[in-house]
Structures are given as structure tokens and as C-alpha cells.
């Protein structure tokens, strides 16, 4: 039985397609309309409102909160100033990735950590010996992500943002409700995430939608989110890498370096979980982007006498990646047609030697049950990174 989120009454009523997904045990809308295209375009041109309440949220407070998070994760969180947000990941003792998320320093001794998958026990178990309280506040908070170029204009109608900068946070009153705002998101666009008391969820939703009409706002579901996050080159736990907690063999796991998160790892400091292993082993693979040759895809459709068609949703089914000799050397874990770039793009992983930008590889592509290959070019991530994301 899936759980409702705090704004379930609103999302359920707005969902005309009746297409829902299981997101970590919660009922989440896949697409509000029969086609998610309108939602995607709202995010890139106006703004989209995502109910991200199923995201796991852990509040960590106490005198040792900063020291504990520095120990748990790969970043020196204690250095983070109040009102700042940091993106990070955490590993097990073998340096194998468990999850990724953001941490916000709400107050001197109060942090909030988000996680993709349920994993309270892992966080809680590491806390012994630290003077901290770890509490799962997932159900106590509503989390709404307002993403897109018009997001700032909309929020300014509802409250005083004081020019909140990229990866900063602050408490604000929006439409008369106490909220906590972070300039973060999972779309690679200008955007904010709004955290508030679960009971205020419906009122907040209504206020945003009422003001949003003038800003091209649309409720948007997970299908649109998936396309956006692939364009932005963001990895997804369970799709682009596997949490060490769910791996059966070491080969299934990844290090942060292998998932494009190496930049977040701060090795030279006090000990943290996985530090020793990460010093020794960075891993053999690298994460990168691939862009498929569209004419080659068209040709595969033509072979079957069909016009080329593009699924409106991203594919989360991994496909093999081959080198020029036909040897399987890696995989494409997420792929989608990018409506913004007019390109077929994917997030891929392969050994370092193949991950050089400009390298030509072959990706499996299926048309009418026929497995074929199309040429792809290796590129750096992200695919789409508009200046407005960071703009002041």
C-alpha cells in the first residue's frame, strides 16, 4: 500500500492521466496529463511544480551535528556556513557509494540531510559516540520543488526572497506560511525547493498555483523530472549507480569517483567513513555523457518502414555500450530524447580509456524488437547548463 504525500489531495485531483509511480513507498504522479511533454516544457520555459515530499529528510541536531555529518559523508560539512547548502554523497567502509543528496545548515547546530532511498538505519548507526539527534522528518515536512526560468518571479510575488543565491537557503514567509527555502533542484535549471510543515502543504500548493498562472506554472510529474535531470547530467540512485546497501557483489557497487561525484570527495581531513578505501582505490570506471547520431536512429526506423518515433518518457533500462570492435565495454544507464537540445542523449559508464570526449562508441538500440546499434559520441556532462541556474 503506497502512502499519500502531504499534498496528495491536490496532486491526485490534478492528475488527469491516472499515471502514478511508486517513489520510495509514496504515491507520486508520473505525468498529470496523458502526455508529459507540456510539463517538461513548463519547466524549461515557465516553471514546473514537483511534489518531492517522498525525498527522505533527516534532521541532525546537537553540538556534534557538523562533526557527525563530516564523518558520515565525503565532505567537510563542519565548514559549511549557516544558510548554505552542499551536495554530497556517503559511502561504506569500502568506499562504495550508498546514496547522494543535499545537506543544508539551517542553524549552528541544526542540519538537514536528504536521501534518495530509505536508509535511516545507516545514518543512525554511524551516530553513536556523537552528541547528536537524528530524526526522520520525511512525514513531518512537505517538499515542493519549483523549477524553471520563471520560478524566481513567481516566488517574489508570494514573499521576500532577498536575492537568494545558488545553493543558499533561508527561512521565508510565502503566502503567509512559514517555509524554508533552498535554491536547489534536480532539473539543472533556475529553481527552488520549498520545505514546510506537512499540514501547510495544501495551502502552499494552492497559493503557488494561484500565483503561478501568470508565470506559466504547471504541476509536473516524474517523467518530466527524469528528462530534465538527464539533461542536467544528474545521477539517480538505483538507476545510474547501485547503493552499496543493495549490492550483492562488489562489482555492482561504485565509488564516488566512478559516478562523477569525485569532485565532492574531500580526502585530506579528519577520518570519515570510507576515507581509507577511497585513498587507495578510485575505481576503474568513469561516468560520462553520450550523444547518439540521430540519422542512424532514423535509419533503423526506416528499415522497418516506420517514421522515427520518440517515447515521451526517458528510459531507465540500461543498454550495453560497445567499442569499435564490437566488444561490450560499458553501459548506458539513463537515456532520453532531449527536447531542448534536439538530441538523443544518455548517461553512460565505461572504463577510463573509453571515456575520452570525442570517442566514438556504439549503443544498443531496439526498434520493433530488433536489437541493433547506433553510433554515439562521448561528451562531458552536463548536456544542458543554462547560466540562469546560477544567476544572481
Amino acid at each position: 500500500m503506497l502512502l499519500p504525500t502531504p499534498v496528495h489531495s491536490r496532486t491526485f485531483a490534478a492528475c488527469r492521466s491516472f499515471r502514478f509511480k511508486d517513489w520510495g513507498g509514496y504515491l507520486a504522479v508520473a505525468a498529470y496529463d496523458p502526455s508529459s511533454e507540456v510539463e517538461y516544457y513548463a519547466v524549461r520555459h515557465g516553471c514546473g511544480l514537483f511534489d518531492v515530499s517522498p525525498l527522505r529528510k533527516y534532521d541532525i541536531s546537537g553540538p556534534d551535528a557538523g562533526a557527525f555529518l563530516s564523518y558520515l559523508t565525503v565532505r567537510d560539512v563542519a565548514k559549511l556556513a549557516v544558510g548554505r547548502v552542499s551536495y554530497l554523497c556517503w559511502c561504506n567502509d569500502d568506499g562504495q557509494l550508498i546514496d547522494d543528496g543535499t545537506v543544508t545548515r539551517i542553524d549552528a547546530e541544526h542540519y538537514r540531510l536528504t536521501a534518495t532511498l530509505p536508509g535511516l538505519h545507516w545514518v543512525d548507526d554511524r551516530a553513536s559516540g556523537f552528541n547528536v539527534t537524528v530524526s526522520d522528518v520525511t512525514d513531518r515536512l512537505v517538499a515542493l520543488a519549483l523549477q524553471g526560468p520563471q520560478a524566481r518571479g513567481l516566488l517574489e510575488q508570494l514573499g521576500e526572497l532577498n536575492k537568494l543565491r545558488f545553493f543558499r537557503s533561508r527561512a521565508v514567509r510565502l503566502a503567509g506560511l512559514d517555509c524554508y527555502l533552498t535554491r536547489t533542484g534536480y532539473t539543472g535549471d533556475l529553481g527552488y525547493e520549498i520545505w514546510a510543515d506537512a499540514a501547510d502543504g495544501p495551502a502552499l500548493w494552492d497559493a503557488l498555483l494561484a500565483a503561478g498562472a501568470a508565470f506559466g506554472l504547471r504541476p509536473a510529474g516524474l517523467e518530466a523530472l527524469d528528462i530534465c535531470r538527464i539533461e542536467a547530467g544528474f545521477v539517480l540512485n538505483g538507476i545510474d549507480y547501485r547503493s552499496a546497501l543493495q549490492c550483492h557483489t562488489a562489482a555492482q557497487s561504485s565509488t564516488p569517483y566512478e559516478c562523477g561525484l569525485g569532485w565532492a570527495v574531500d580526502l585530506e581531513r579528519e577520518p570519515f567513513v570510507g576515507q581509507a578505501a577511497l585513498r587507495k582505490r578510485r575505481g576503474e570506471e568513469r561516468l560520462f555523457g553520450v550523444v547518439a547520431d540521430w540519422p542512424a536512429i532514423e535509419a533503423l526506423f526506416r528499415l522497418q518502414g516506420l517514421p522515427p518515433t520518440i517515447p515521451s518518457a526517458a528510459s531507465r533500462e540500461g543498454v550495453p555500450l560497445y567499442d569499435g570492435d564490437g566488444c561490450q565495454i560499458g553501459r548506458v544507464t539513463s537515456r532520453t530524447w532531449s527536447p531542448q537540445l534536439k538530441q538523443y542523449i544518455g548517461i553512460a559508464a565505461a572504463p577510463q580509456a573509453h571515456a575520452v570526449p570525442g570517442t566514438r562508441l556504439q549503443m544498443e538500440f531496439t526498434v520493433e524488437y530488433q536489437r541493433r546499434q547506433v553510433p554515439v559520441t562521448v561528451t562531458e556532462l552536463p548536456f544542458f547548463d543554462p547560466p540562469r541556474k546560477r544567476s544572481r
Binding site: 496523458p34 502526455s35 520555459h45 518571479g153 501568470a214 517514421p307 518515433t309 530524447w337
Partner: protein, 530 residues
């Protein structure tokens, strides 16, 4: 003033085709200069602000045919291009709920079923048949026109065309010939019974031509519009974020990044020739530039008669260009609105307003509109194609306000009193459009904050579109493929050596497609003219 710099290519006119051509040539390392008469680039693909905060896509207002190859090749997304597809096609009605055609099959079936169950079932089949014809014609759009009049030289191309024709099969071939010669109504009558479905569908057959829905050859024009493709999803049309001008800006930015030099407010007065060969241009302000080739992104008549001069051309060619038909038949009315209009047949702010909206209640309505135009008057109840881009792209209007863009047909360039009479009839024409719309959305008049009326005469004077034809010459069958603009000169070259054409007056024709610009550049480079 004497010329100081010598370029590989000078492009006359900064419309989207000129810009595309400049970007490709500069990308191949050629030294390119592009000259634009106005203060802004884009030609008919411009965004203009007449009332603060309201951005009109003054002329061209939707994009469908911009080739995906061009978007990739020129990396237009990186240069800021972002296209938002139209959600649907809405045909409001004075009695009844109107018709909305969605990209979603089931919803469209539902909608058409209200008019005719039989039509609803046939509708997808029609799409498939047109798709098949489109597949046949589409490759022709991306290669220079096959020219049967020069068979020996172009044997390979002509053979491939013949092979393609054979692949259609006898029935397909018959359908193809019918399609090329029929009227839009003839074609639709073979498929559908409901007038209310056929009327909005037939409109694609008349846009930009001075023909009625019952005139022969309009079936082909209908197909031509059917072939718009975005995202490889056929028949999808879209808005550019920031208005149509954003497309031109993205292409211009790509051209500059590749090293092209672009000058605005540089009106060309003359294309200079020596012994039958183009050698450069002289601007109205006296500046001179020289180049190995001169490429005109203006329409054929302006190019040959205004810039080159009849005295430089042989009589036969002059006669052909004189006969080349423009006959602009449409105008544009752009409105800045204080609030969103409410259509009485489907009130409220639904997704149905986020597509194109056609005022085309019946075939007879459309034919009657044409009748008035034939006799030199604008239609009293015209066909209107309406979009409200501010609903999908909030950047074009202040929050809560809207812009509405109305393409209006028929507004014949040749009024009974002569084209100059448009200056007296402009406001009456604007009033007619607003009154027509008011019937469908009561209260619209009171919401209007600003109105821009563009008559065919304005299109000619302001945007350089001869006789106000939005396609640089009618898109009728006898002016297409190897006959565009004239027999024997359909491959971008002209009787003047080193003078080329790269815009909508060349194959494959008009629309926000960019193909003539890209093809012209390709031919120049591949065949080593440059």
C-alpha cells in the same frame, strides 16, 4: 569611398535563411559578410516590442519546418534556441463546443466523434496516408531540386527520384498525382464528411497563397504544411521562447561564433557586376564591399530588378521573373491584452488555448472569404489563425498579461483601388479582425492595450516581402521544385555569374525552414564555387 576588404561571400539580407547560409559558410572557414537593412536581424522572423513588456512575433509566429539537421549542425540550443510545441489545434464555434485536435490519439477521436463517428475512425488513417506522401517528399526538401530539364548532368538524382516514385506503387503514384493537382477540399472530401472537421484542415492548403480551399493544387500546399516536424514528431508546430526573433538571434549568434561578420542598418542599393558577373555591393550610404560571390537572401524580384537591374539580364529571364507570382494575400494583427480572452464555446483557461486557434467554421466560410478577395477587397469575415504564445512562454508578456497573434487571410495586396489604398484601409482591416474575434470571445475588445496591424503593403515596405507574400512567392505547384523561382535556375545559381539565391524564393520554398540557406551553402562548398 573605395572598397577595402574583400570577402569570400557577401549575403544580402539578414532573414533566417541568410543567417543560416552565413553560419554554414563561416563554419567552413569562409570570410563572410552579412548585410541587413533594418536595425534588427531576422527579416520576417523577428520579435518586436511596441508596448513595454509585450513582445510580438511581428510576422512569422510559429515554427515547424526549421530543419533538425540545422539545429544540430549549428548547435542552436547552445545559442539559446528553445522551441515549445503547440499543445493542440482548436477550432472554436459559434454554436456548439468547437473542435480540439490533440496530439493524443484517443482524445482527438473523442472530439471528432462528436461531429462524426466515421470521421473519427478515419482521421488516423488520413494522417498515415499523408505521412507516407510526406516521407516521399521530405527528402526532396533537403536536397537541391532534381532538374529534368538538365537530365544528362543530373542523371543520378533524377534516377533516384524515379526510383522513389516507383516505390510508391501504382496506387501510391495515383494518389501522388492527385495530391499534386487537387484542391484541398477535393482531397478532404474523399476522406471525411464533417464540414466542421474539414474546414480547419483545409486551411493549411491556402496559407500564404492567393487561392481558395476549392482551388486546384491546394492539396499539395496542405501536405507541405503537414510536413512540419519538430523532434522528429511529424506535424508538430511550436513557438520559440522569446518570440520568433529568438530563432534569428540564435542563428546569428551561431554565425558570429563561426566568424561571420554581420552589419545591421546596412541597406544594399545595388549588386555590382562586371561583364555579367557579380563582384560586390554598394550600400545606400555609399559604402562598397567586394566578394567572390554575392548571395541574395531577398526575394527574386527584389534581387534581380532592384539590386541587379533589368538591363543586366536577358529578356527571357526578365519575363520569367516578371511572371513569377507573389500576390500576397495575408496580413497580421498583433494584440497586447490586459487579460486572457474567454472563448464562449469553451470558457476558461484550458490547454486548448495553448495551441493554434483557427477561425474557420466551415468550408463555405473560407470560400466566401476568398470570393471577396478575388475582387480586390479584404475578407469581411476572414480566416484567422490565432496563437497566444504568452500562455506557454511567459517571457513575452508581463505577468498576467498576454499577447495574441492573428494571421489573417485574405488581405490581398492588390486592392481594387490599388495597393496604396491599404494606407487608408489599415485600421478598417484591423477592426474587421477584432470584430470577427469578438464574436468568438466576447469582451476581447475591452482587453486590448495595443494593436499592431500589418497589411501586405506594410509587409512589403517594412520587411521587404515583395507584394507582401510571406513565402517570397506563392507556394503553388508551378513555382516549386525545379521551377522555383524559374525553370532552369532552381539550384541557387542565377544568370548572373557568382550571384546566388539562398532564401524562400529558391527551392524548397518558404516557411521557417532554413533549408534554402543551408542547401545554397552546401552547394557552394561541395561544388567548390567557394
Amino acid at each position: 569611398m573605395t572598397a577595402t576588404t574583400r570577402y569570400d561571400a557577401i549575403i544580402v539580407g539578414g532573414g533566417h535563411n541568410g543567417l543560416v547560409c552565413a553560419a554554414y559558410l563561416a563554419g567552413a572557414g569562409r570570410k563572410v559578410l552579412l548585410l541587413e537593412r533594418r536595425h534588427l536581424l531576422g527579416g520576417a522572423a523577428v520579435t518586436e516590442e511596441h508596448l513595454a513588456g509585450f513582445k510580438y512575433s511581428a510576422c512569422s509566429y510559429v515554427v515547424s519546418l526549421l530543419r533538425p539537421e540545422i539545429i544540430h549542425d549549428l548547435e542552436l540550443a547552445k545559442h539559446g534556441l528553445s522551441i515549445i510545441p503547440l499543445a493542440c489545434s482548436f477550432t472554436p464555434d459559434l454554436s456548439g463546443p468547437g473542435l480540439v485536435r490533440w496530439p493524443d490519439f484517443a482524445r482527438t477521436h473523442d472530439e471528432i466523434s462528436r461531429l462524426s463517428r466515421r470521421d473519427a475512425d478515419r482521421y488516423p488513417e488520413f494522417g498515415k496516408a499523408m505521412g507516407k506522401m510526406g516521407d516521399f517528399i521530405r527528402p526532396l526538401l533537403m536536397q537541391p531540386a532534381p532538374d529534368p530539364t538538365r537530365l544528362p548532368r543530373r542523371l543520378g538524382e533524377s534516377l533516384s527520384l524515379l526510383r522513389r516514385l516507383r516505390k510508391l506503387g501504382p496506387r501510391g503514384l495515383a494518389q501522388f498525382v492527385q495530391l499534386m493537382t487537387q484542391s484541398a477540399v477535393d482531397l478532404l472530401d474523399r476522406w471525411f464528411e464533417s464540414d466542421r472537421l474539414k474546414a480547419p484542415m483545409a486551411c493549411s492548403g491556402i496559407i500564404g497563397t492567393f487561392l481558395g480551399v476549392r482551388s486546384p493544387t491546394t492539396a499539395y500546399v496542405l501536405l507541405h504544411h503537414y510536413m512540419g516536424e519538430i523532434d522528429g514528431a511529424y506535424r508538430a508546430w511550436g513557438f520559440a521562447r522569446g518570440g520568433t526573433g529568438a530563432i534569428s538571434e540564435a542563428i546569428a549568434s551561431a554565425a558570429r561564433a563561426r566568424g561571420a561578420e554581420i552589419l545591421c542598418e546596412a541597406a544594399v542599393e545595388k549588386i555590382t557586376t562586371r561583364r555579367g558577373s557579380a563582384r560586390g555591393v554598394v550600400l545606400e550610404d555609399g559604402r562598397e564591399f567586394e566578394a567572390r560571390v554575392v548571395i541574395s537572401a531577398c526575394d527574386p524580384r527584389r534581387t534581380f530588378f532592384s539590386f541587379v537591374g533589368r538591363d543586366q539580364l536577358d529578356d527571357d529571364f526578365v519575363a520569367q521573373i516578371t511572371r513569377y507570382r507573389y500576390r500576397g494575400s495575408s496580413g497580421k494583427v498583433n494584440l497586447a491584452l490586459d487579460r486572457l480572452p474567454d472563448f464562449s464555446c469553451r470558457p476558461g483557461r484550458g490547454l486548448h488555448l495553448q495551441g493554434d486557434i483557427a477561425i474557420a467554421p466551415s468550408i463555405d466560410y473560407l470560400e466566401r472569404a476568398y470570393d471577396e478577395a478575388k475582387h480586390g477587397a479584404f475578407s469581411r469575415r476572414p480566416y484567422i489563425n490565432l496563437v497566444i504564445p504568452s500562455l506557454t512562454d511567459p517571457t513575452v508578456a508581463p505577468p498576467g498579461k498576454h499577447v495574441m497573434s492573428a494571421f489573417v487571410q485574405y488581405a490581398p495586396y492588390q486592392l481594387a483601388e490599388g495597393p496604396a489604398a491599404w494606407d487608408q484601409q489599415r485600421e478598417a482591416f484591423g477592426d474587421t479582425v477584432v470584430e470577427t474575434l469578438e464574436e468568438y470571445c466576447p469582451g476581447l475588445k475591452d482587453a486590448i492595450l495595443h494593436r499592431q496591424v500589418l497589411t501586405p503593403l506594410d509587409l512589403e515596405r517594412e520587411y521587404g516581402l515583395t507584394e507582401g507574400n510571406i513565402f517570397h512567392g506563392e507556394l503553388s505547384l508551378e513555382q516549386l521544385l525545379f521551377m522555383r523561382p524559374t525553370m532552369g535556375w532552381a539550384r541557387y545559381q542565377t544568370p548572373i555569374q557568382n550571384l546566388w539565391l539562398c532564401a524562400s524564393g529558391a527551392h524548397p520554398g518558404g516557411g521557417l525552414m532554413g533549408a534554402p540557406g543551408a542547401l545554397c551553402a552546401r552547394r557552394l562548398l561541395e561544388e567548390h564555387y567557394l
